[in-house]
């Protein structure tokens, strides 16, 4: 079965909830879908999801969503920074620029992943000739 991982950087939790209404519930209390999402708030025994640029913690509300297939609707969300295929450990699409790609890493990773979300230098596995990099869409990464 395929696994596609998406990395988002939203401005805040409200923006994330508005963009991904199918992946959280509010009954009885707000919580992300813990079978598919890692968020900065964590939950119980999960560590807060954090994105680093170099050694700096990135501002905003980072979030990881893992799906069973590529989802064009999800990718079309402007705050979606990366789309990766877990099985082949490759970046399918990105909105980060080359410098950002060299510095980005995340923690924790979803168990079983072995590529960009494992803190590796993702430039080593990104084939930029096949997957052109566009400018950052949110501006959060530019600040």
């Amino acid at each position: 079965m395929s696994q596609t991982d998406y990395l988002f950087v939203f401005a805040d939790e409200a923006s994330a909830k508005a963009a991904l209404p199918a992946y959280w519930s509010a009954n009885p209390d707000f919580v992300w879908d813990l079978s598919r999402v890692m968020s900065p708030t964590g939950n119980g025994a999960t560590a807060p999801f954090t994105v680093y640029m170099g050694t700096d913690v990135l501002d905003g509300y980072p979030l990881s969503l893992s799906l069973t297939a590529v989802d064009e609707t999800i990718w079309s969300i402007p705050q979606c920074m990366l789309e990766g295929d877990r099985i082949t450990a490759t970046i399918l699409r990105t909105r980060l620029d080359a410098a950002q790609m060299l510095g980005i890493s995340v923690s924790p990773v979803m168990a079983g992943t072995a590529y960009i979300f494992a803190g590796q230098n993702i430039s080593l596995i990104l084939d930029q000739s096949q997957h052109p990099i566009s400018d950052s869409a949110t501006g959060i990464l530019d600040s």
């Binding site: 964590g42 979803m110 079983g112 992943t113 494992a118």
Partner: protein, 371 residues
């Protein structure tokens, strides 16, 4: 192998219903024995349950061997279906203690041991070259309750083996045997834990695998790490449309669980509010219709371990019994509710944290034997 007395004595015959199926069952899922029956004719795991879990996950079998399951795959072994909440392991290089994040003092290390999952050269051999040899990893982390576990087996010697969460301020002796066992030490609340091992006697050696440091008061199944902390996503197990049909018309249920740790009101089945599952304290089974709750004291044993339990929700009465104890009964309405989640609540914050060996729904209102 776990066996089910009720199943053997009350199995039905004829009319195309397999003999192992509990009498009157509309849906019988014997995960531990890989036997599945639905009155609708569906008898496969994918036909009866859906699984969402974006990460890999391990489960143990009765031999103690860890088995790796890929994403969105139900973790079914001959113990049952493992259902857990999400958790993060912050101990890096949890199988390879030769990595530089592990600081060794008078200790040699080699990645040359068969692991707890049976894989060759996947676990680490620690050998003391002097008394009180140590192997420690410092983790940068805010203050929180930390629970420390590791799979350990003895290779050489018989001396004391210890674990720590606080850099050796506290050393706790663990009972190491010749077979891999997931050993733990008591929870400590602290920032920047320093985790690891001490071999007290020079020349003694142990094999270590799946070192795990996670939030909370108990350990969970292994979460593989290398360079970065890793999260095991929650198991989201739901009945398919086919099997929900059985749940909607059910008036009773039987379950056998093998829970590892009791958390707050874990679920066996959650009906989008009403639920059946252990009492919060874990003393026995409970049934809750969203308004009233009735529980029962187990006839034997404790809820951490193997428990057979039966429930009745016939519309006017709620009943439950566990391990042949005294049934608890209370008047209470029960609508024809669709069971939503197995082993958790829909928001995935009430995980069973253990194995569901068997789950059966019935269309009659008999309280099944739990001896």
């Amino acid at each position: 192998m776990l066996r089910y007395g009720a199943g053997k004595r009350f199995g039905r015959m004829g009319l195309g219903v397999p003999q192992w199926v509990l009498f009157g069952a509309s849906l019988d899922m014997d995960f531990a024995d890989s036997l599945y029956y639905s009155a609708t004719g569906t008898n496969t795991v994918p036909g009866l349950i859906s699984t969402s879990r974006a990460s890999n996950g391990y489960a143990q079998n009765l031999s103690g061997l860890l088995i790796l399951f890929g994403p969105d795959t139900p973790r079914i072994t001959n113990i049952g279906l493992l259902i857990e909440m999400a958790a993060t392991n912050v101990a890096l290089w949890c199988r390879d203690l030769t990595n530089a994040v592990w600081i060794k003092v008078t200790m040699t290390v080699a990645l040359n041991q068969i692991g707890a999952d049976g894989s060759a050269t996947s676990a680490t051999l620690l050998t003391a070259t002097a008394g009180n040899a140590t192997c420690l990893q410092t983790i940068v982390l805010g203050s929180s309750a930390r629970f420390q576990t590791a799979y350990i087996k003895r290779i050489t010697g018989s001396g004391v083996i210890q674990m720590t969460t606080d850099g050796g301020t506290t050393w706790t002796t663990v009972a190491v045997t010749a077979s891999y066992t997931q050993l733990s030490i008591p929870t400590q609340t602290l920032a920047n834990p320093i985790i690891g091992f001490r071999i007290v006697t020079n020349g003694d050696a142990i094999a270590v695998d799946f070192v795990q440091n996670e939030t909370g008061a108990f350990g969970t199944s292994p979460i593989l790490t290398t360079t970065t902390a890793a999260t095991r996503a929650a198991d989201n197990i739901t009945l398919t449309a086919t099997s929900q049909t059985a749940g909607v018309t059910a008036k009773a249920a039987f379950a056998q669980t093998n829970i590892v740790n009791i958390t707050s009101s874990p679920r066996i089945v959650d009906f989008a509010g009403p639920f059946i599952g252990p009492q919060a304290a874990g003393s026995g089974p409970a049934i809750n219709n969203g308004t009233v709750n009735v529980g029962a004291v187990l006839g034997s044993g404790s809820y951490v371990g193997v428990v057979k339990q039966s429930f009745v929700f016939d519309g006017t009465n709620l009943q439950t019994v566990g391990n042949n104890g005294t049934p608890g009964t209370i008047a209470g309405t029960w609508a024809a509710l669709t069971p939503i989640n197995i082993g958790n609540r829909a928001d995935l914050t009430r995980g069973l944290n253990g194995y569901l060996a068997r789950l059966t729904f019935f269309n009659d209102n008999a309280l099944r034997p739990t001896a």
